[in-house]
Amino acid sequence: MKIKSIVAGLGLYFICHSSFATTVGFAQVGSESGWRTSFSESVKAEAKKRGIKLKFSDAQQKQENQIKAVRSFIAQGVDAIIIAPVVETGWTPVLKEAKRARIPVVIVDRNVQVQDESLFVTRIASDFVEEGRKAATWLMSQPQAQQQCNIIELQGTVGATAAIERAKGFNQVLAQHPQAKIVRSQTAEFTRAKGKEVMESLLKAEQGGKGICALWAHNDEMALGAIQAIKEAGLKPGKELLVVSVDAVPDYFKAMADGDANATVELNPHLGGPAFDVIEAYLKGKKDTAKLIRTTGDLFLQDTAAAEYEKRRLN
């Protein structure tokens, strides 16, 4: 009798203990960029701070790995699941499984396409359109942009949400400034090497870059590549040709500190905080969260670049 009650007590203790610490499964895309890495780190740090037990899964940019990870989270009976989806489609079955197991799911970063919006609690994402707007607003406030301003645009990967929406936001602002115009626009696939290669060709097609007032790149990596191409063409990036982009990766701060680049809008990697806020509220009974929560980063300029570089490099 005694032994039985001890065993039951111990069992109860373990069950209670495990249910006290919230366990969250996080299915991350992978570690394909510096931004992605700092996003993962930020989520891990935030979980530690809040005493949440985080189960982290790196899908190496493959959806099937993510679906497997989510299924294993469900099997382990986690309290909530965060998914940073690789692609938008194909999520309905596994989200239904999670719903049947009564596990709330929060989507972060990229979107998912599902018919039934009740399959996830909310989606937390960066506002790409706003990033484009911020970049354009800054550029249009510069003295160089008050007269005729020809802009070269380096687009992200064709079809990527970030590329489409950043262009949209930028063009919205540009539409109010008739003196400014995008004269060349071409994809450089979000990579540094392509940014350099494409910029080389575009500069030559534009008479060596004479009469170009700014470069607008959809991410920092392309801008960093393009800066090298601008230098090799004998122009001064950041002075003769303004450089503005989005992401705020450490290397770009170095370029800004050196005066080679002008501005960047931070792509907020701290999506973990809001995600855990939503999960904790949900577990306490708040079920009516808005289906989309937008976060935006700040605009960074040359004046703070050196300090920011030191800060970010150490991380």
């Binding site: 992605r36 890495t37 190496q60 994809t187 540094r192 090497a193 080389e200 097609a205």
Partner: protein, 367 residues
């Protein structure tokens, strides 16, 4: 055989022997040569010239060359310079394909070697030759793995190299710890963006590699052996050619070429991007080899034609960028032009085209 009526047996035998020898000499395979060699070079060169012409129409300054910072500067130089990594890959790939194999891992090997360079440069005071040497050794080691799997374990080349294609990028990411590793080393960067005697350094590296390989393959029997193994590995073995050794050698050479390409790519952007360095370039290299007229079934190769193939691909990329068309058309245009070039190369297609035209003429004549 001579047909002179009355001859002494002895002289007849001598005569026939001499004729046999002569016939054998004529029938002897001369490496890299073929009867219709002219047309083999003609069509790729025509395609390249047409592409350059389209560029000239799009941008009147396209052929202009300036002297800037001690080197020639202009769109044509850019095309040659940007072709360098794929040209190196294509040189290695030509040999692998000539043995009837394929190497899908070269892009990943580029990423690994780039990561090795960047990390060595960031970590400590390694001299540039040491960095290059270690990167090339890494490439050779990757080639050794591929070659061993293909020749001694008998794994299908496409499967064996697929292993390294997938795993290699992972290795590069591990080396870089998921980051883009950047370095500040002007001497090493010169390998990618510097210039020597008016031309960019990568162009010299390609020319050097091409020359060395061509000498190695066509001035020794190695090229012939490679083609023999590609035609029929078993028959070659019965002839006493070490077919396994030959296969191992070509994968080694491909690995070495990929290492050089990786060094150039890394030096060019002064950083190693494990995710994107050399991404899909193996496919560009295979395409270039095919444009160069090599058969994927093996048995023949030509390094200069493969390099022309690379120039076509790169000129096409430049055309697309300069054309100002929306980016979403890029891949479609590329596919269509490549299809056209490949069809032009096909003798069957050209003959069909000819009959089509002569048919038109015939009808025109009757009407």
């Amino acid at each position: 055989m001579t047909n002179e009526g009355v001859v002494v047996d002895q002289t007849h035998q001598d005569q026939s022997k001499a004729d046999q020898l002569k016939a054998a000499r004529q029938a002897r395979y001369s490496p890299g040569q073929s009867a219709h060699q002219f047309s083999l070079y003609l069509y790729p060169l025509v395609a390249l010239a047409l592409l350059l012409l389209v560029n000239l129409l799009l941008d009147p300054q396209f052929f202009s060359l300036q002297w800037q910072d001690g080197r020639l500067y202009g769109p044509l130089i850019d095309i040659v310079n940007r072709s360098a990594p794929v040209a190196l890959l294509a040189i290695g790939m030509s040999l692998v394909i000539a043995t009837g194999g394929i190497d899908l891992s070269v892009g990943a090997v580029m990423a690994i070697c780039g990561a090795v360079c960047a990390n060595l440069l960031v970590l400590g005071d390694w001299s540039i030759p040491a960095v290059i040497g270690l990167a090339v050794l890494t490439g050779l080691a990757c080639g050794l793995v591929n070659g061993f799997m293909v020749s001694y374990l008998g794994i299908q080349p496409i499967v064996a190299t697929l292993v390294l294609m997938v795993a290699g990028r992972g290795v590069a990411q591990l080396l870089n710890q998921g980051q883009i590793v950047t370095f500040q080393n002007p001497d090493f960067a010169a390998l990618g963006s510097g210039s020597f005697l008016a031309l960019p350094v990568p162009v010299w590296l390609v020319l050097l590699a091409l020359l060395m390989m061509q000498l190695l393959l066509r001035r020794t029997a190695l090229g012939l052996f490679i083609e023999a193994v590609g035609c029929n590995a078993k028959a070659s073995r019965y002839l006493g050619i070490d077919d396994r050794g030959i296969k191992l050698t070509v994968y080694l050479l491909a690995g070495g070429c990929a290492a050089l390409a990786g060094i150039i790519a890394t030096a060019d952007i002064q950083g190693s991007d494990a995710n994107n360095a050399g991404l899909w370039l193996e496919l560009d290299a295979i395409l270039a080899v095919v444009i160069g007229g090599a058969a994927l079934t093996g048995g023949r190769f030509s390094l200069p034609r493969a390099v022309i193939g690379v120039l076509i691909i790169q000129a096409l990329s430049t055309t697309i960028v300069v054309s100002g068309l929306p980016s979403k058309f890029n891949l479609l245009i590329k596919a269509l032009v490549i299809l056209l070039v490949l069809m032009l190369q096909s003798e069957l297609f050209r003959n069909q085209l000819k009959t089509l035209f002569s048919f038109g003429k015939l009808r025109g004549g009757k009407a």
